[in-house]
Subunit: 139 residues, 2 copies
DNA sequence: ATTTGTGCAAATCGTTTGCATCTGA
DNA sequence: TCAGATGCAAACGATTTGCACAAAT
């Protein structure tokens, strides 16, 4: 859950990841990390950038999201369907998925607890456990 | 986990789902349900059909997979990335995902056990819990 | 005969890429 | 200066759709 108080910290974070703190990356990072935890797609972020008079191409948004993900600043969330979601909360946690709206919400890590996890097959190890709790309207 | 001993049972199942037992649907159903639990994509199934001299168009494979899913004969599995996977095992279970190969394996239901599940927000209920255990080679 | 399904090719959607241009160190 | 970034438009892969034809009831 990266947290940045000012542009200097942000610049340092980008530099630390081997990324030049360009105008576009700084602007996107501010949108991404400036308002708590968020779940968004490339399109969402692109639109938001335009609304905020930040001029970035969609291609750059994609590039940036992937670079930030590699740098550990974002996490990809696997949902069925076409779009890729990015989560600004990179800590270990699960998600609610509102099926009607197609949106994600974090679940606090304490709210889910495993009794047992399966043994990985020989030669393999668990890299991550994704849990998606699907929600629908109550009938 | 649908199980069909012969074409008659299969026909009945399709009819029960409001689907005409056409040549193509019967052939695809045999491929899908004739050999235990499977995880496949539209392309996979299409190729397999061609290898078995079953002539179906890719569009029909897509249609059929979705119709079978709606009918409860298949289950979609959410993986990140482009392709959609279908699982012939419709019972409640989790998956291993082999990241290197991009393939799925069932996990026996007993191997995973939740201590606690989160309370759904007001007015919502849990429709399903998807668990994906990601595996990588041991280092 | 009427309804439903099929195949093909074109259309769509999200995403990626090639390449010329620009920018930050 | 010059590697690295950006933007645009074209390319792409998976999936969907429109429509004429074929098959099932």
């Amino acid at each position: 859950m990266p947290e940045f108080r000012n542009d200097n910290e942000l610049q340092k974070a980008l530099r630390g990841a081997g990324l030049r703190p360009t105008r576009q990356r700084m602007a996107l990072a501010e949108l991404l990390f400036g308002q708590g935890d968020r779940h968004l797609t490339a399109e969402t972020l692109h639109e938001e950038a335009q609304r905020n008079a930040v001029s970035v191409s969609l291609a750059t948004v994609y590039n940036t999201l992937h670079q930030f993900t590699e740098a550990g600043l974002l996490r990809e969330v696997a949902i069925e369907g076409s779009k890729t979601y990015f989560d600004t909360n990179t800590s270990d946690h699960c998600h609610f998925f509102l099926e009607r709206e197609g949106t994600l919400e974090d679940i606090s890590p304490e709210a889910i607890d495993f009794n047992r996890l399966p043994e990985p097959p020989a030669g393999m190890k668990i890299s991550r456990v994704d849990v998606l709790v699907r929600l629908v309207e109550q009938d």
